[in-house]
Symmetry: C2
Amino acid sequence: MSVKILGGITAPKGFKASGVHCGIRKNKNKLDLALLVSDVPCATAAVYTQNKVQGAPILVTKTHIADGYSQAMLCNSGNANTCNPNGVELAKTCCELAAQATGLKPNDFVIASTGVIGMPLPIEPFVTGIPLAVDMLSNKGGNFAAEAIMTTDTRRKDFALEFKLGGVLCRMGVMTKGSGMINPNMATMLTFITTDVAISPQMLDQALKAEVKETLNQICVDGDTSTNDMAVVMANGLAGNPYIAENNADYATFCTILHKICVWASREIAGDGEGATKLLQCSVHHAPSKAVALSVAKSIISSDLFKSAMFGEDANWGRALCAIGYAEGDFSIKNVSLTLKSEKGEVLVCQNAMYHPYSEEFASEILSEREIEILVDMHDGDYYAQAWGCDLTYEYVKINGDYRS
Amino acid sequence: MSVKILGGITAPKGFKASGVHCGIRKNKNKLDLALLVSDVPCATAAVYTQNKVQGAPILVTKTHIADGYSQAMLCNSGNANTCNPNGVELAKTCCELAAQATGLKPNDFVIASTGVIGMPLPIEPFVTGIPLAVDMLSNKGGNFAAEAIMTTDTRRKDFALEFKLGGVLCRMGVMTKGSGMINPNMATMLTFITTDVAISPQMLDQALKAEVKETLNQICVDGDTSTNDMAVVMANGLAGNPYIAENNADYATFCTILHKICVWASREIAGDGEGATKLLQCSVHHAPSKAVALSVAKSIISSDLFKSAMFGEDANWGRALCAIGYAEGDFSIKNVSLTLKSEKGEVLVCQNAMYHPYSEEFASEILSEREIEILVDMHDGDYYAQAWGCDLTYEYVKINGDYRS
């Protein structure tokens, strides 16, 4: 139903992007400014962090896409432009500079920043960097943009799918980044999704808001909800599919593709969490409600103790059960079973919330893999949810003990 | 008004205690069974974990002190007796064995366990260990009992105060333990408080429940709410003070002493958190409500990112502000100021939720101390609260990557 294609956010028709080094980051080998421009206006939906401290770019982006449309996106790494006295002014000036260089209007721009909080951010890098980024715009530039939004990420995170709507070939691309301060709440880290699907802003907003609850909000690296989380979808309609303006079969297909894109982004962010050596995927089956399924899955992959045990490849399942026990919601734990699974096989370690005999050796072998799945069966309903996290390692502490130097 | 004295939980009149090695822990040099007996019945109040998974001893203790009284306490380390199919039966058998050996009734006993979750726990160590512990009972035995309840704690945690009520000399002692799976919720880790004050069970219960909200519930080592948290106060009345049965001046004094004891315990647990090199104390001033003050203080000392920065002695205050921003409650962040303080001095790093110029060198010097205070002024009301935590270190990951072996 969908096929993976190359190109990331520039895979959909009519999107150009670039990534340049403008000098916000000291290391000249690291790109730090990403630009994305669509040939035509895009229906645009976004979700933002629920943190009371919000990055200045979020405040500016909210007003710019209040009408449901945008046409371009500018994002820097190396500085979050948060808690800076002149942050909003600076973000607005950046949009003006980008408008001048592209011939668009300032409020056509989504703007975002990621990096250290509360460090002064000068305008100079943008003055030289924005025209350079405009010069470099290309329909093959998605990869460079994805590289320019990285902070402690160890790899570029972009991806694209091709699919059909009403018989018409459409595309959806995404770039995203982690990798610390990851505990999205009704929003997510920086995730930018492009598509050439023709869809109304209202339907796009509905699709994104439903989707992030089940994927991007279900990631946790360290329990810290960032001040700059943002997920944006820009749909320029250039695929020429029948315009989606109601809850029909094409909308359902669109949501399925958006789900695949967001699951991919969630797994990428979690698996490349700061210091991570393992991706943890928790799948909760037969929960009494969707909310409980989501809460239980997230609680397990958020537990520092369980994450440390996974780093040590120790099947200390009691910590997972403990994390279920303090998950939010009204539910019974008495029928819960736990299975640990990887490419090496699977092992049932807990049944009816009690110890179930198993081979520690085999369990350790299962946990030696890079991707670990924790299967929870609550035997108490029909709801299902997943969450994604990573192990807690020495490297996480090292990265964050000395992030700014 | 109160003076520190020796003896821990056996400092108050009429309490005897012991700590022995009974074989639950493999290392014969580690004590693993604590016993406490009062000469006369004690008004008893307790709070327990809110985790849906609860240790078997908690279920048994709840029924035993339902009448407001107990006379003794038995606690093992090395195994939490949680998620064991025969856990409740085993806890009851332990109380019966202890009753036989002491001449008390099984339901005179508070029982507690701490250690690994979901590992089978045999009765044999108790069969030999309980009579041994009874033989060793002494009014100087508080220190041994405090040693026997340790798990990954690096030091014994007991303390006592002497004070006057109605002109009569009284005493209060405490023993407590950490040091991982620490994020108490309406309860706490294992904390046992003894006193010879004469007080009704109702007033004792009221005092304890009010107190834990401001101290023991305000600790966080790793965000994991344990399955076995319990705080108990046993008051045997042998001091001979005027019986406290109403909210009078003596009750207020009693609450002040209980607060000192619980602050001490909170600082001890946090400062000896798994892998900790620093005690973090966050004090929130001028908050719009008590709930917001508590929530903001707890949020900062719970942030993995901030804890890692403290380990690295890096004044990355933006992470503290970020943690305030995602704290629960309805409040404004716009007037928030942050000061970092230690014996080396103090430095204002953030004013009106924005960057405030400061010397990074001096800030690092302040953070080089073992005890760090984070002062938050919300400039938005009259409420105050504190919370206690520790830094996040390589050692935490090491301890928990391989806890069971």
